[in-house]
Symmetry: C2
Subunit: 389 residues, 2 copies
DNA sequence: GCCACTTAATCCACGCTGTTGTTTAACTGG
DNA sequence: CCAGTTAAACAACAGCGTGGATTAAGTGGC
């Protein structure tokens, strides 16, 4: 019972994307995750389209204006039968993940019973391990942050032992009296490169004592909770819901991009996708600390004005959008947050200029609403994904 | 019975990646596809590692030196129980998709019965609709081309009617006396942009009569076979097996990239991913026909020597590899095939120079073994994917 | 105020999935 | 020759979603 629980085959031993068999338990978990995702989406859109609620009710039998979805709607959207939805919902109600929340308007018969997520049925902990700061937060099932804290650290000088002790201490504080079985796990975002699958850090620039550290297992050992690690920029893309083809562009000390393509997080062959800062966009450009010339990062740093810097980022994003046919870009990171309106305006301007047909290819550009918490929240989103598939 | 058959929910009505429920039929098909994929992989690697067969037997209980896999190995690799594999294999034997092919060496007990794909149990038709040529071919389950033909056309001048009649005629010739139930379908690769999901072409440069044509349904109507369409470069990436994170770089009239990331073909929000040719890699570069300046395509065209042109492509590929953390690049298209060794050497040289640590990030670069058939074969691969998941 | 009608959700029996436990098949080695 | 070992199938079973019938809870006409 309880939450999705099928143990994935260990992906370490085999080359990579091994086709993997599924049994009845996996089927059940998959469908439970499907239903949870649909309920979450419905409540999320209900919040957004609260004003345009009238139009929504009209649209193709879709989400009603109210918060929550009915079983009939879930059946239609999932492709499962009403009976199957009934059973699945019943299990989720028993687990406390869903709750009935009033009824919808009748359309001539028995009114639909609306279902919503129970936000505090489970918790996810998100951590951002930065070079100079440690951010920890606790998020509920809807991705709302209920507690967060940021403490100054010195990653390079302190070394793993001291930092991880502090981390464990902060997480304990976060969780307070929350029973462990209600905690889905801990997600840790760290500067790359790293091996996400093995949970091991590679050489962190300027912090040799962290080289090869088994970060995931170290933290899991200290906390006794399921733990995952992720590159910071990649984590960021999970800080909120959004398009199945989107990117989180993280402009902080470095420049990285988190990618969700075809609805799935993309990490690449060695889980180091997103090295966006070292795209060469001008072979005659300034030398970059990576050794090459004309990287986006180097061009950005060499810009003569904030506006020009933002424009450079826009050009790089235009390339990204064209290559991957994205329809949503979320901006984050300290440099962006220091001048959000400027970056928003410039990136939008460049995209409008560069992309062939804006009506055929609209791209939403926004600044991460979670602001400085985006990466840590994305790390929490990583563990939430255990439940939502 | 027979081949995987669950009807996918229509993705047209809903935003995009709708989480979709699965039932027992879907589960069965998924596992059948899993087994077929494992058998295919085993036979493919057996062919490749034929020389290094001795080492293979030693490795982690993996694929034995011979062609074929045993049920025990399938069970281990898929994570399913031996009994489940037994049943699934039995169904696939009944369908004629698998066959028993000898036995492996005994390891002290009953020897394993080896299973192989029956190559001609099903057929896939691949079509490349080019501006000046129509390529059609028939491929078996292993992706081997058993018949192919290329005829000159003039896409712009002839218009859809004449070309599609010719296409139907060629496909009929290809299939000869093959019973329709043994034909998985027809995949059609076309120059983009197009709407892969709807099966509709967008404005094909210089061929206005094709604008908005419902290519998929037109062809399906003429042939009475399941039909899919795909961008040419995207199709190309399916012309062979390979890494779960790879790209097919197609240098022909234009430059495009087909992407497989995380084991899945990536098409993007409007199924137009892969616009690789219009990545800006030099803002001061020559003007491109797309309206911008310094696109890869424009730089390539402006190169003063073939070697320089190949180098330009290499630079662009280096960006691609870094961004997506790819470990395999396949080159194709007429321009590459005109000087394969040059392109291979230059791309490898640039990658070696540009990528930080070649031992940590090895990238395989090759020219598509199917040569001029790569795109059409990839289109056939698209329909083979119906069987292999 | 009744009742036919409609729609939502559940109850019940069922078919089919992969799983568990047991048996048969087929080869090795002392 | 026979104990030991490994592969694969047989038999019984739990649990998944499905299909058909039933109950719950509204609307609307007269």
């Amino acid at each position: 019972m309880s939450s999705p629980s099928s143990t994935p085959p260990d992906r370490a031993t085999l080359p990579a994307a091994i086709p993997s068999g599924a049994n009845l338990a996996a089927l059940r978990d998959h469908n439970a995750a499907t239903v949870l995702t649909l309920v979450r989406a419905a409540t999320a859109t209900a919040a957004v389209t609260a004003t345009a609620a009238d139009r929504a009710t009209q649209a193709t039998g879709g989400t009603s204006g109210r918060a929550g979805v009915s079983r009939v709607e879930l059946a239609r959207q999932s492709g499962l039968t009403a009976q199957a939805i009934s059973k699945i919902v019943q299990r989720l109600l028993d687990d406390g993940l869903l709750a009935e929340a009033g009824r919808g308007a009748s359309t001539g018969g028995k009114p639909r019973t609306l279902l919503t997520l129970v936000p505090d049925a489970r918790w996810a902990v998100g951590v951002q391990l930065g070079r100079d700061a440690l951010t920890v937060l606790r998020a509920d099932l809807t991705g709302r942050v209920v507690a967060d804290r940021q403490v100054a650290i010195d990653l390079a000088a302190w070394g793993p032992g001291r930092v991880l002790d502090l981390l464990a201490e902060q997480v304990s504080w976060l969780l307070g009296a929350v029973p462990p079985e209600r905690v889905l796990g801990v997600g840790i975002a760290s500067p790359g490169p790293l091996d996400q699958r093995a949970g091991v850090l590679h050489q962190v620039t300027g912090a040799p004592s962290w080289d090869g550290l088994a970060l995931r297992d170290e933290v899991a050992g200290r906390l006794g909770l399921p733990t995952l690690i992720e590159k910071d920029s990649t984590a960021g893309v999970l800080s909120g819901l959004g398009s199945p083809d989107r990117a989180f562009v993280h402009l902080d000390r470095g420049l990285g991009a988190g990618l969700v393509l075809g609805g799935a997080v993309q990490r690449g062959a060695r889980t180091n996708a997103g090295e966006f800062g070292h795209q060469t966009i001008d072979p005659d450009g300034p030398r970059c600390r990576c050794g090459n010339s004309g990287c986006v990062e180097a061009l950005w740093a060499a810009a003569r004005s904030p506006r020009e810097a933002a424009g450079v980022l826009g050009e790089a994003i235009a390339n990204l959008v064209r290559l991957l046919d994205l329809d949503e870009i979320v901006l984050g990171g300290r440099e962006v947050l220091a001048a959000p309106d400027l970056y928003l305006a410039e990136v939008r301007r460049v995209l409008a200029a560069r992309l062939p047909d804006p009506t055929w290819q609209p791209v939403t550009v926004s600044v991460a609403p979670s602001g400085p918490n985006a990466v840590a929240l994305g790390a929490a989103g990583l563990v939430l994904a255990r439940l939502f598939g």
